[in-house]
Symmetry: D2
Subunit: 312 residues, 4 copies
């Protein structure tokens, strides 16, 4: 469990004191506030604050489009329309702030999403904790043989054991040495100056945990979720995306449902793919050879049309 009793007490205290507000309130999100949703072995996602709800999306869109929009019968219809037609600005009117604890190699992928605000714990200023990500055995996967950028089968017994042993012992040795270099006394008690934190940290592996505050609007969060909750995303960032997604579903249920239908469950087809589709619907048996598509494109096209392509 990643939190100390003191931290749990602080969270409980923060949750014990509701205050009145005139702002839009999402009951679904209030239930999440401050609570640590565990992710991986030491990580978590905590919702610290949010702005807006489904109605706030509609409210912003109606300024944008004027009173005339009343003919879209209800909020759900308008939200689906906005999502379908890539009207992104109303979704930008909702905002969320998270506190996330995550391994450094995950943080390095995450930060590529630039349209967000970040405050990260500083290892120049402070000393990091001895916490490293060590994969559960079922997540210890071999390199994929078909995809340079993916995983294959789970590692088997002896190899898995060796890998875990390496990861653990290297991480612990690195941390021992980190402490040793920082210390103003050598292990034998001899006084020493102590290396600067900003230098000592460079001995720590990318499996060490860091933490940050991350604030983003709903449109850019959807973009993040589309890429990072995708089956092709690395498992270790996907579990963060899935945890956030579950919070979003409680926060803005209508926007989430539209996002699921049009983005997560949808697919973009190329002009070539659409041309094939029209031939197929007209009864023609199209093959990769007659499709005009490369083998890779054809494989992906077939996957989209396969009955099991979209999960439950």
């Amino acid at each position: 469990m990643p939190l100390t009793p003191e931290q749990l007490a602080e969270i409980a205290a923060a949750r014990a004191t509701p205050r009145p507000t005139l702002r839009a309130v999402s009951e679904g999100m209030e239930a999440h506030l401050y609570r640590a949703h565990p992710v991986l072995d030491h990580g978590f996602v905590r919702v610290i604050d949010y702005m807006g709800d489904d109605a706030a999306i509609v409210q912003a869109a109606r300024v944008s489009y004027g009173a005339g929009t009343r003919h879209v019968q209800n909020d759900e219809g308008l939200i689906r329309y906005l999502m379908r037609h890539w009207h992104s600005t109303p979704f930008e009117m909702c905002e969320i702030k998270l506190h996330v604890k995550l391994p450094v190699f995950v943080a390095r992928q995450w930060i590529r999403h630039r349209t967000a605000n970040v405050n990260e714990y500083s290892a120049r200023y402070s000393i990091l904790d001895r916490e490293f990500y060590i994969p559960a055995p079922e997540n210890l996967a071999a390199q994929s043989t078909v995809n340079n950028q993916g995983r294959g089968a789970v590692l088997e017994g002896a190899e898995a054991a060796r890998v875990l042993e390496i990861l653990k012992s290297d991480a612990n040795r690195a941390y021992d040495h980190y402490e040793d270099m920082l210390s103003q006394a050598r292990p034998d008690g001899t006084p020493q100056q102590g290396l600067a934190r900003e230098l000592a940290r460079m001995n720590l592996p990318a499996s060490i945990y860091t933490q940050w505050y991350w604030k983003v609007d709903l449109h850019n969060l959807f973009h993040f979720l589309r890429l990072r909750a995708d089956p092709h995303a690395q498992y270790e960032i996907r579990v963060y995306a899935e945890t956030i997604a579950a919070c979003v579903a409680d926060w803005v249920p209508l926007a989430w449902a539209a996002f699921q239908d049009y983005r997560l469950g949808g697919a973009t087809l190329s002009g070539k793919a659409l041309a094939c589709l029209r031939r197929m619907l007209a009864g023609e048996a199209v093959t990769q050879e007659t499709s005009g598509m490369s083998k890779g494109e054809w494989r992906e096209f077939e996957a989209v049309l396969a009955p099991a392509a979209v999960g439950p």
Copy 2:
């Protein structure tokens, strides 16, 4: 007064129903929520939502810098430190959403601030109201004779009257013609097709009012205020900036005070100016000729050092 009785009733209703939340609450900002602060003759600024308060800035910064920051004795000291040292990310952790009604020529300046979210009322989709900005006589200024980009003296009687008459009659004629072109009947009752809204709007002058939802983080809002609440900003956008500034002062009073001291009331001096200053403090009488500065720079330097340079 820019609001209809129906709109005022909607605002009163929104303000009548507080709900409990576990989020950070700024009492100062709750008092502003939804209320229309009048600006110019038909404009307003309304706070629709906000995220965070002074404590949220500190909270984000302390993740960033770790537990070690506790030695900064209090929130005020830390906030001043962050502002002084250009640590902008903690200020980005606060967010505000405004509903603004403003003339189009003001909107065109405003939108240059790109790091914000905007939903504007659409004149492709809806019909604009007959509302134009007509300056009060004391704001009807002549072109500056010393600054290509500024105002000089207030226009005198007959000229002011002529200008106001031109602005009013041109605006009204343009709007009459706008309605006429849109209508499905000519003034004499003859049926006609009616011009597309997206075309008819181009006949309207830049003095017409538009409205939008505008959402921005506190760091970028401070940047906006620094440029637009400045005495060199055009009066018509400055009054919006001042109205927003008054809300910010109630929302995050510590951050606002630091911003006032370090940005609004401060000044940036060049290397040349600092060199002069050191000579002056050492007793030398420095003149523009011996300063190494151009005449324009020297004039600005003298203004910074003049006793009355900073207002109350």
Copy 3:
């Protein structure tokens, strides 16, 4: 023709003096540099500068993915792969700078694309020219009766003539008054102060031309083109998008071809739409009633599958 002989001479001079460079050079783009491509009645698009070419996209991607990517046989394949899988960062490595002259109401749509750099001609500082967009008769369309945000049939004779007369006379009167208010003498020669430029400009209609420098990376430009070269975009901005698109096709022909296939000629289908498609391919006759889609979604779905959906 929007350019004066002096301006044409400046362009000719700029084009007459090639200089050696070690940078990536796109022959296709060199042919466009500085030349004014006319748009609408007084507008233009000029390419002022560019950075990168198709090879630069590949070069950046290969740093990103390492030497392993050599197995993607050629640049075209890699560029198509990047486009298909939404790997946007390599496309951001190309940049273009344009000089655009455009009506203000077009500029107001354009500026919503925030991830770009802009320098606009300042009407606070300078005096605008007497140039207004007056639509050609074939572009003078009625309001659509089915789409609040679109155009219907072309206006017929007498109505078209009235509209054109209104647009022209209002624009000219507004400009006469603009000059009059700015002037330091009344029409009868009486001296006057002259209204500040920053105020006088508000009398001018949205049909007046402005101009700006606009700089954007290729990824964000593609996003702009997808929305603004779309048949649903307003005609007056679409013609700018099409003019820019023709330059892009000469600049980065491989990226442009991929963009055409995967974005302009492609379509995004929702989860519901994909489910219908699978049923249809299995031989079922699906109707709107049995599709689970709203009428609007079904209509758009049918349009995507219709033989003529994608142009030549």
Copy 4:
């Protein structure tokens, strides 16, 4: 030396083939193109491409401000004016693209500058090289005793030797294990599956080198340089900033000189500091106690006024 003979040959080839262009050319920058400027023990900065020069800044500003600006006598004066008055958009009209090789802990600081384009070498896709940053002895500093976020004295003999030994041996062991885990054979030749690259990389320390393409406009680059070429920046990122700064000085010498005077060599004084300054210039002996400033602010204020505050 960080480059292989093959890489050096590629650079020489790229530099051997100038081509004609009609674009703005900066002779100063042409001399840098493609060349690797060494930084730290294995890093480098290479200029891959650039857009614009000093004249391009002026050109964009003059569209922005119209022909009226001709009275600013020359480009230098206008560029200094723009810099002094925070007119940032003309500087955004220049763009630079760099190829940088840098330790991961430096990359993590660097990426906080979000307004830039990045393509990083992917350790999911490819295998990293065995290259780690090992500080030179003179850069092996103790933790500062007065600044939580800084360095103090250089480590002395035995301690320095121990630290270097730890950094080297831990890095090499981590890399040995990285190779071992990736391999499809154990050290004794027994076949194994080989761990996925995206997992194995997490065993590598933050001292390992990565590389990326980084593209940024001149305004945002100046912001980066102001923060990262500052004496308070960590040494290991400062040397990159200084290397880039030297290229910028050759690229846009007028803009660079203005940046040096107004930003690097200048200082921002608070309202309180300006008030003290006026009292001091009037002959009063102001102390921290009578200044209204905190001890920290006063110390910084004194440093600004000290004769040696600005370097040569």
